[in-house]
């Protein structure tokens, strides 16, 4: 199966995120990201894939506006990151569930709406809908400590989805979960993406995960962090659990692995 490594994507939409000549140097002198160019269109599911230290999380945080680039330009929907949007148009899912332990599941999911000034009663329908979306409608009254790791992560996703974002940023959200839970949540995220027509940027260090989920994989290399491959993947909208066992999946994984392999040459594996 030929992989088109130059095409942007099979999904055609307006450019939503544009990064041009983006550099990020941290205060300690580390060059976290070197000359990154990336255009992401509305409706794409893009994985940023690479070993630790390749700047993938840094790129994600800069797109969210949490981190400013040292030089270069980033625009999200034509604005500087974090600007010109209502809080919640861009949602972020962290590696940890990042829930407030003192608040119930309902109140955790309600938080983004509360910060917008929406009353509890007015928000109830939206919060319930978001909880239903991740299959936790019955757990609104529970506290985070009463939930399993996978359930906590689903609460975190419900919180990200409650504002109906146009852009969902996920920073290795399932890295700490067991494989079965991860597969399940992978499908949840795929369904959310298909149903809601949002753009997803997904940071991961798992080849299998990125190939299963993405319409496009951006392979990054460390020291300094940079983009080395940009690969469009076919059939992103029709995959299901069955896809994991197809030869196409294995083949694509091999190709992406090879691309990733090239980046590992100068990685000291003793670290």
């Amino acid at each position: 199966m030929p992989l088109d490594t130059t095409a942007r994507s099979s999904v055609q939409g307006a450019a939503q995120i544009e990064m041009s000549h983006v550099f990020k140097r941290f205060d300690n002198g580390t060059l976290a990201l070197q000359d990154m160019d990336l255009t992401i269109r509305q409706g794409e599911f893009v994985s940023l894939l690479g070993p630790s230290g390749c700047g993938k999380s840094t790129a994600l945080r800069m797109i969210s506006g949490l981190l400013a680039p040292s030089s270069g330009q980033i625009t999200v929907n034509g604005h500087a990151p974090g600007k010109g949007v209502q809080g919640g148009d861009v949602s972020f899912v962290f590696q940890e569930p990042t829930l407030m332990p003192w608040a119930t599941v309902f109140d955790n999911v309600y938080l983004p709406l509360k910060l917008r000034g929406l009353g509890r009663k007015q928000a109830e329908a939206q919060v319930t809908e978001a909880l239903e979306m991740v299959g936790l409608a019955k757990f609104g009254g529970s506290y985070p400590r009463e939930l399993s790791g996978g359930m906590k992560m689903r609460v975190s996703i419900a919180r990200a989805m409650v504002t109906k974002p146009k852009l969902l940023l996920m920073d290795e959200p399932f890295a700490a979960l067991d494989e079965m839970t991860r597969f399940k949540l992978n499908n949840d995220v795929l369904n959310l993406w298909r149903r809601n027509g949002l753009t997803v940027i997904f940071v991961t260090h798992s080849v299998f995960e990125s190939v299963y989920l993405s319409s496009r994989v951006v392979v990054m290399a460390p020291r300094p962090g940079r983009v080395v491959h940009d690969m469009a993947l076919p059939d992103a909208t029709t995959r299901d659990e069955h896809y994991r066992t197809t030869p196409e999946y294995a083949e694509t994984c091999r190709l992406v692995s090879d691309a990733l392999e090239g980046t590992m040459d100068d990685v000291d594996l003793n670290h």
Binding site: G82, Q86, G87, V90, F92, W102, R116, R145
Partner: protein
């Protein structure tokens, strides 16, 4: 006599539900023992004390028997209780002011590094200088003895609340902070919904310490002041009894001070459980 009156355990407010679960029964037994055993041990110790004093005919001006202490407590009750009330007022007022001052300044510290850097040394100086050493100065400068005592007790109780509030507010999860930034939270929303709840467990820990410290501060300050007259607390009564060699009354006053400390401890512990019980690790009861 019915058998129920011979049951020494009267702590359970309602009749035990019929349960066939042996684990539940064991848990209930354990709870009963936890109250019964210390009570019995205390009673035994008091009995031994009474016995030794009587058997050896120790004069009451050296060591009074528990019965005599109780008798003194009863006899001098009204005057001792008014002294206790003075100490309670002093303690609670200084604790209240320590909470207000400590929380307010702790929040300012957490929100502004510059102010913290500038003012923290003062807080440390207040904390490390023994209150006994500052008390005479304060008594010279402040006209009202009650106000002077209040300041002394406040100094002792203030610091743990200040430092724990500041640390607690800074302990808020950094991802949650980022989340609040992403959703464009205002400073007030961040304080109300993130920083204050994050600081609550730290504050509660400080409150337990400060409650005891306020009492210690109140008693120590009064010792230094050595106040005599109509408006005096338990510390003065202890001093006064010591001058007059009225040892049983000393013990009685001492007993009241301890009971006050225990009450404060129980109250702050209860409050901590009530506020944090449903979410924080420190107060959650584990099953099994």
């Amino acid at each position: 006599m019915s058998t129920s009156t011979t049951d020494p355990v009267t702590m359970a407010p309602q009749a035990a539900p019929v349960s066939e679960d042996p684990a539940l029964r064991a848990a209930r037994r354990e709870r009963r023992m936890r109250i019964l055993m210390p009570s019995l041990a205390l009673l035994a110790a008091l009995g031994l004390w009474e016995f030794l004093v009587r058997y050896n005919e120790i004069p009451h001006y050296l060591i009074p028997a528990p019965s005599l202490i109780l008798e003194t407590l009863w006899k001098d009750g009204p005057s001792l209780l008014s002294s206790a009330w003075f100490t309670v007022k002093l303690t609670l007022l200084s604790l209240g002011l320590a909470i207000i001052g400590g929380v307010a300044l702790g929040m300012v510290f957490a929100l502004s590094r510059t102010i913290e850097m500038s003012l923290f040394p003062f807080a440390v100086i207040l904390q490390v200088t023994p209150v006994v050493a500052i008390a005479p100065l304060i008594l010279i400068y402040v006209d009202s003895t009650f106000a002077a005592l209040l300041i002394c007790a406040w100094i002792v109780a203030f610091f743990p609340i200040l430092s724990n509030t500041a640390i607690g507010m800074r302990s808020a999860d950094h991802n949650l902070r980022d989340l609040f930034t992403l959703y464009g939270a205002t400073k007030w929303q961040r304080l109300r919904y993130l920083l204050i709840p994050s600081a609550l467990p730290y504050f509660m820990a400080a409150l337990k310490i400060a409650g005891g410290l306020a009492l210690i501060g109140a008693v120590v300050a009064e010792f230094v002041a050595g106040t005599a007259g109509q408006n005096t607390g338990l510390a003065s009564r202890i001093l006064e009894s010591s001058f007059r060699n009225e040892i049983p009354r000393m013990f009685a006053a001492l007993l009241l001070v301890s009971m006050l400390g225990i009450l404060i401890f129980l109250a702050t512990s209860w409050l901590s459980r009530a506020v944090l019980g449903h979410w924080h690790e420190s107060e959650i009861k584990r099953q099994g």
